[in-house]
């Protein structure tokens, strides 16, 4: 009986592993047509990461492995839109539908309410990924490395912090009176704009910053969860 179960688990694992070579030309075509991706290569890489994420997620169910990348999540959304193909993919390789839930979705009732699954941190995810696939976690998993002038970003926290201009620095101060973020006053105009705008494109930042500085400023704020990428 136990051997049966082990064999079944192993067989399921082998089947899931074959999902990594699954191809979806219709999805790649849509990603290019909708300008979600700039090139076929980029689309292929991002879809590969979606499949790897699924595989990792199911291979170790002892933890909740969160989706850490806005870009890869975006590709997952597009895949789900091909409802029939997505369901067939899930059933064929994982034996079940892989549910896709926004992080604020109402919690589903649990079979055992006392049982809680620990949530893996980003560091744990990165280590797990690198162990399984034997290569460093690609850049597309880091949102801050995917900021460019044409990227739209949303306020994640900036608007709820006190904005303080003090001499040669602009500071964002939290409720404990501590400075969360500080920058020299060359970014004053850009920071005022960020503090007021709920959503904006990186290229829209006003002031004297050159393009690389606009990108660096937004990337830093994204990395530290003060802003987040938007679709």
């Amino acid at each position: 009986m136990a051997i049966d179960l082990a064999e079944r688990v192993e067989a399921q694992f082998a089947t899931s592993a074959t999902s990594l070579s699954f191809e979806a030309p219709y999805l790649i075509e849509k990603l290019l047509a909708d300008h979600v991706c700039a090139s076929k290569d980029e689309a292929e890489v991002l879809f590969r990461e979606v499949k790897r994420y699924f595989f990792l997620n199911r291979a170790d169910q002892g933890k909740i492995w969160e989706m850490h990348s806005f870009r890869i999540d975006e590709i997952w959304h597009q895949f789900v839109l091909f409802t029939r193909q997505y369901m067939e993919f899930c059933t064929r390789y994982y034996g079940m539908y892989l549910p896709h839930s926004p992080s604020n979705a109402p919690e589903a009732p649990k079979n055992n309410p006392t049982q809680t699954t620990p949530v893996a941190t980003f560091r744990e995810f990165r280590a797990y990924y690198e162990k399984v696939f034997g290569e460093p976690l690609p850049d597309c998993w880091y949102d801050e490395r995917n900021v460019n002038l044409h990227r739209r970003v949303l306020d994640a926290r900036v608007g709820r912090l006190l904005f303080k201009e003090d001499g040669d620095r602009v500071e964002l101060v939290d409720g404990a009176g501590e400075v969360v973020f500080s920058i020299n006053s060359i970014a004053n105009e850009a920071m005022s704009f960020i503090a007021e705008a709920g959503a904006f494109y990186v290229r829209e930042l006003p002031g004297d910053l050159v393009d690389d500085e606009k990108i660096a400023l937004v990337a830093t704020l994204v990395e530290h969860k003060l802003l987040r990428l938007a679709s």
Binding site: V119, E196, E213
Partner: protein, 160 residues
């Protein structure tokens, strides 16, 4: 007080600028927020957000040099110029005098990022594995139980 010479051509100075220059150049700081009432006489409270009233600072009216509307904010957000060194108190669930913490201690807790002419400092605790929680207070943090606004693939959500 700075001495003000009248323009020979009769050009009017900007009212705000004139008030802001009164304490002397570089002797003012600027805060932005929504002005609300304080329980203390002679004070106002400045709220960072209308949606989140848990964070505010209390400022003595005597320390306010000038105020003006924030451009393109039709909800009444104001720019408030205050005398540098004014005692302002951050109010949350507890009261912390702003600026009491030694600057060195704060800087030790900050990571520096230099790009081009930008010199940024970010609180170290804001690192990747820490995420702003869904709590609406806007200041508390927790280990990432969900990546803000992004999706998760929940294990075993289907009946077995």
């Amino acid at each position: 007080m700075a001495r003000v010479k009248p323009s020979r051509k009769g050009l009017e100075s900007n009212d705000h600028l004139q008030k802001v220059l009164e304490p002397g150049e570089d002797n003012v700081s600027i805060l932005r927020g929504f002005i609300g009432p304080s329980q203390r006489d002679g004070y106002i409270r400045l709220f960072a957000s209308l949606a989140d009233t848990s964070i505010s600072v209390e400022i003595a009216e005597a320390d306010i040099v000038s105020t003006a509307d924030v451009l393109n904010n039709n909800l009444g957000k104001r720019i408030v110029w205050i005398r540098r060194g004014a005692q302002i108190t951050v109010i949350k669930t507890h009261t912390t005098p702003y600026g009491i913490r030694p600057k060195v201690a704060v800087e030790n807790n900050m990571a520096s990022v230099h790009v081009g002419r930008l010199n940024m400092q970010v609180r170290s605790a804001q690192a990747r594995d820490t995420c702003v929680s869904v709590c609406s207070c806007g200041t508390c943090q927790s280990q990432c139980t969900n990546v803000c606004g992004i999706c998760i693939c929940l294990p075993a959500t289907l009946p077995e």
